[in-house]
Amino acid sequence: MSDASRDAVDREQAAAHGLTEGEFERIVAILGRRPNLVELGIFSVMWSEHCSYKSSRVHLRRLPTAGPHVLQGPGENAGAIAIDDELAAVFKIESHNHPSFIEPYQGAATGVGGIIRDIFTMGARPIALLDSLRFGPLDEPLARRILEGVVAGIAGYGNSIGVPTVGGEVGFDESYAGNPLVNVFCLGVVRRDALIRGRAEGVGNPVYYVGAKTGRDGIHGATMASAEFDDASAEKRPNVQVGDPFLEKLLLEACLEALRADAIVALQDMGAAGLTCSACEMGARGGVGIEIDITGVPQREAGMTPYEIMLSESQERMLFVVRRGGEAAVERIFAKWDLDAVRIGTVTGDGLLRVRHRGATVAEIPNRPLADEAPRYDRPVREPDDLAARQALDPEALRARPAPSPAEALLALLASPSVASTGWISRQYDHMVRTNTLLPPGQGPGVVRVKGTRRALAFSVDGNGRHCWLDPYRGAVLAVAESARNVACAGARPVAATNCLNFGNPERPEIMWEFARAVAGLGDACRALEVPITGGNVSLYNETEGRAILPTPVVGVVGILDDADRVLGGVFRRPDAVIVLLGAPGGATLGGSEYLRRIHGWTRGTPPAIDLAAEKALQGLVAALAADGRLDSAHDCAEGGLAVTLAECCFASGGIGAAITLPAPADEDPVAQATALFGEAATQVVVSTTEDDADEVLARARAAAVPAHVLGRTGGSRLRIANGGGAALVDLPLAEAEQAWSTGLSHHWEPSAA
């Protein structure tokens, strides 16, 4: 009998660790005895929602994960797709919502550090980041402080480690005031034959601890009070981790160098649940055991207990399984980079995670059940009672309200922080380091070339919580469509996706319903658009004082451009170009629109309907036209509708204006006018093309059965939008519109600029 069976805990301690009665019984059954405190801690973190996906797994199973480009689907540190015969792109998105509320700078910074580690643990060099952010309205000082801290944190970490942040998105709603969302996407590149997985193999292979020292960071608050600990550890500790981008930069270089030396069998970063999670998951994936002696774990603080060492979430650490004989190479490489690399264990054949400390066995748990037999809950779902009320949008009620003129409404929308220029944010991000960035932030999706090839990769993160709150299924479909459409607008073929599911408390049936519906929509859209999901992240319990955030699935689609020189931006490039609307001109609705929110303070109606076959045809057409060099620019129509899209096509163009006529017939009704100008529709793209190419563009659209409509021409220094009868609804100096747009966000910090 091992020493681990001593000092068994009871049900009360299990409950204090957040484990249910049923879960505790399951642990007892797996072990054949009651766990000790260290084991209880290990089970509690491995079976936490965060690590085990116990509420979401039954739904995630329905996502499509296979496709011709997919090299690695969900289940590893990140997904991977083929770029060509030689290279792979590795990417994933992760959330760091709760830590970013507690300490915006460090929360966001460590989030960036975590997702970058997920990419290089696959052997890939991280080459780009995107961020998807949500905050409360900026008239609240707290929201401004959180945004400022989060942006500085992303910049602080990303800039320092030398991975460019090439794009992203930001949105605002009251529901995020006490629970901001910080989702970060990272993409890396690796030779396909050098892709590595976190699968421990080879009995007798040594296990190494590398990177930063372990401190008492992030050890779960509830368990800290336990009488087992000395006074020093029981003292109330801030549950905040501080990132060290410098150390991670060294870790990144050392890991890639050790991988090139072929000294490593498997590696995994120590993220949530730290050493516990990395050891257990690597063992479970490989069907082997891992024995570690944590006495030798480099420690930052004195007197750490085995419980604390196993559960610490200190950043910038990794666990390696080293190829026998490769020890010297690993140690030499880590010494070169001035990093700790300490042998702490061995791969064993018994399938157990065995933890030893100062000569005693302090935990002994079968890996497989610990990792894979976590409870799964098919939690009850219930459609919210007020769903019909949410979706009701009475045009009469709207007509009865005072409304600004179309020009005033356009200026107000352009100045809305959700629409306005994010230059104040992206200027703080080094978006050029590594010299691959082909589109500056704000001009479309992120696009980076792949050095050594003719290709480039385009990627975009998108999500609209308002749409999902009104209809989670359709909202998720729209998010996938928008993200893929953005990628297509740069001239890329969308090939795969990742996702981050930000929701409230899954134990509430209405929230679980939102989640289930959103995942169903995600799956259907990804299938139809042929962008399989290669991984992602789930963030639940996003609530403050019982009030959940808007359900916010964020989708990141990745696409491939065969010819990097053919990359397309969203901004007009010359005067006298022909402006064409591709996609069905009808279908725009004010339901769930930015217009309703900004002008009337309403989140109501149903978001735009979408036909996924038409969407696929549109995306294929845009990418093909771009590849043939037939387009000057392509811009997806999203928040703010056609009028805002047109304005955005003019901004940053060096002052090229436009004059267009709306496709809708003339209508004096203000609601109809607002719908034509600001209504939002899926499946629309505004392109510009030269006079010479315009006929070809229209002919190709006809052949692809994509509706195409010539809107007008670029040129002049005004923005003029006429109705079907030719009367101007909007006629503004471009400079005035651009001023509203460029200061809409920044004036919250730089009042003088407004």
Partner: protein, 84 residues
């Protein structure tokens, strides 16, 4: 009157800067150095009727702006005029 607010990371919080500086000092040959932590301070010239008033003003500013209570702690000193 001049108040000084000294801000440091709370003891258990990782101090990457201090750690890196420690490494640099060691490699410059200062083997006797055991630990380094970095902090910041603010010298605030404030019109106050008394040292006590200056102190409480400085503490309030530290609470509200100068220190991040989640990870930092602070200490206030007041330099009384004529005493330096």
């Amino acid at each position: 009157m001049r108040a000084r607010v000294f801000v440091t990371l709370k003891p258990s919080i990782l101090d990457p800067q201090g750690k890196t500086i420690l490494g640099a000092l060691r490699s410059l040959g200062y083997g006797a150095v055991e630990d380094v932590r970095q902090g910041k301070f603010f010298e605030i010239d404030v019109a106050a009727g008394s040292a006590g008033e200056a102190r409480s003003l400085a503490a309030e500013m530290a609470d509200r702006l100068l220190a991040n209570p989640v990870i930092e702690s602070y200490r206030v000193e007041v330099e009384e005029p004529g005493r330096t």
